[in-house]
Symmetry: C2
């Protein structure tokens, strides 16, 4: 299996991740915060350490790192935790359905409204596009760190800066990028970071992070037993307990902890350099083929993450992906749960074939991929 679908979930996971998940069934197989015996304490301690490692990676405060079941949950929690009757949100035209669908539902039920700002190759123009959408009742901007389809990276720090000047919060969707694109919560100016645990952070599927900046407080999406203040019918008011009801995914968190350590060991910057080298090679090779359509230019001034979408002329993206699958290559064809981005780039009908490498992708696999694509495109 030659895996180029790390944008969906990373594969393989580091051995330490798989090992930690397996060991968790012995070492941490007790419900943290619900028992005073040794294994429950060890379980709680591991979770604290994982929380602390995630906080370090994003330069956030430990108690404001919340473990979730995935980025979709994190985004729903962020959006619905901020939404009041009459709230307005501004999002980029690259956002994923995990941003658009909750907003669309809230809009349809009359609870909120949202506007879409266009991301262009010109950073100032992009920032202006966001500012022009601001209203008096705008509570937050939601913007992706990197388009999950085209790798385009909006100028998030500048957008966050303008949002703050207008008293508007900035929510960063780091699903595609966390782990290989360095994200410093304070420098970026993100008030909330939502990210997956199972992509660039190499954790297991079923894990995610919701990170709040120090001064922000949001409503809860779910309430329940927290193992704290158990005598009270009311949800605890302090993070992380406030946002983490029910038994946590101890096994997943044990794996994610190792994934984060793996990333910290290698460093985001090195992972990015490695992946960009691979994408650059593929890009140059495909660019030379007349029968292949590329949607972004690697060097046109737009900052871009190592996510590459293409199509073979006269072929549907699913067809190309299926032909690659026959050669043992895993890439995703079709739409990538981001209809706004596809509409923007004119690929809503045909979809795209998406290539997303990882730290584990090597040259040989990359050459094989390129050769297979070239054969299909002949």
């Amino acid at each position: 299996m030659i895996y180029f679908d790390n944008g969906a979930t990373s594969y393989p996971k580091p051995f330490s991740v798989v090992n930690a998940v397996q060991r968790s069934f012995c070492d941490f197989c007790a419900n943290p915060g619900r028992g005073g015996y040794n294994s429950a304490m060890k379980s709680a301690e591991m979770i604290y350490n994982a929380r602390s490692a995630a906080a370090d990676l994003f330069n956030a405060n430990t108690e404001n790192v919340i473990f979730t079941s995935g980025c979709t949950y994190s985004l729903n929690a962020a959006i619905k935790g901020l939404c009041r009757l009459g709230s307005h949100f501004v999002i980029s035209d690259l956002e994923h359905n995990s941003v658009v669908r909750p907003l669309e539902k809230l809009k349809k039920s009359g609870k909120c409204d949202y506007s879409v700002a266009k991301v262009t190759p010109d950073e100032s123009e992009t920032v202006n596009n966001f500012v022009n959408k601001f209203r008096k009742n705008t509570v937050a901007v939601i913007c992706t760190l990197s388009s999950n389809v085209f790798g385009i990276m909006p100028p998030i720090t500048k957008i966050a800066h303008e949002a703050h000047k207008n008293g508007i919060l900035f929510i960063l969707d780091a699903a595609q990028g966390a782990g290989y694109l360095p994200v410093d919560m304070k420098k970026t100016g993100a008030d909330i970071i939502c990210c997956a645990g199972h992509k660039g952070l190499f954790g297991p599927m079923g894990t995610g992070l919701l990170i709040l900046s120090k001064d922000i407080n949001i409503d809860t999406l779910a309430e329940g037993g927290t193992g704290s203040n158990s005598e009270s019918l009311n949800q605890p008011v302090l993070s992380p307990d406030k946002f983490e009801s029910g038994t946590p995914n101890v096994h997943g968190i044990a794996g994610l902890f190792e994934g984060i350590k793996f990333v910290e060991n290698i460093k985001c910057e090195n992972i990015l350099m490695h992946e960009n080298k691979i994408i650059k090679y593929i890009f140059d090779e495909l660019k030379a083929c007349q029968s292949i359509i590329l949607y972004t230019d690697f060097y046109d001034g737009v900052q871009k993450s190592p996510v590459l979408s293409f199509n073979v002329k006269s072929k549907k993206s699913e067809e190309t992906a299926a032909l690659l699958a026959e050669n043992g290559i895993c890439v995703r064809g079709g739409l990538h749960c981001a209809p706004l981005a596809h509409r923007k780039m004119g690929t809503l009908g045909v979809g795209t074939v998406r290539i997303t490498p990882s730290w584990f992708t090597d040259e040989k696999e990359t050459e094989f991929l390129v050769n297979c694509i070239k054969k299909i495109a002949k």
Copy 2:
């Protein structure tokens, strides 16, 4: 480690469960429904089979079995999925904070109201207590299969029957019980079943089920990418896609699948018989000690599941639990996230020490536990 805290999470997990989770990092390490290549297809197929196995266990329809991150999420999804402005709920006085806290929050925000019905040893009286709380705007009764603190089992089938006669839905919280107390969705008359995957079903922590009866439709708690209808800004309308946004916990589901198969192999009834034998022995031994307080009588006509709470006179429950922990015994002391149940039984101040065995608990461990308790109680 001698583990009597299966009410928090079951330990050990069957070898097949641990093995399946580990294998999932190779066999199913691809995002189901997001790729047409082999491992993504295998991943989707495994999830379908797991869904089907869960449906068989509860006599439900496969497409109405929804995988969640735990029972807390399932209950929040059920409650908030049904709640409209002005809705009224009726719950038992044994409910967990995962039922009470969401309702309390909705009540405080003026969205809904709820009433608490008293469960007594007399079944008819209990049913009447529920019926007396019904209002014109009551949308659902929420009732536990078995108290997570005292093992008391309300007459759910009769309560559900009365609810239906009044056009009211019945939500069953099967967190404590699923796996050792047989639950037939159709015979019970439950419209929604919420349960944990990591307790009696022997799955990993971080898994749960939300099961809807055929004719019921509820609103979504979270929306996002589903890998289906990706061109649409709207959430799909059909279950399970409607309720399963984002990357599923593939590893957890692979483990839960094996847990369900394990239960189906042994049969709920046999697990219950085994656990009840253990609890009966402990109960009889502790009943003979004057310095021990028991809160329920095993044979007083109240149907009871194998969950036993006790206290040593003159000792706080946490103190007794800590002394048992010194002997390598894992039990939970304090409050068990169920303040209503503690208030009912007069243990809100002192808490209780809870003993919850599993299929894997043996006689020798049980005798050791009893001897340790007796020494502490001397």
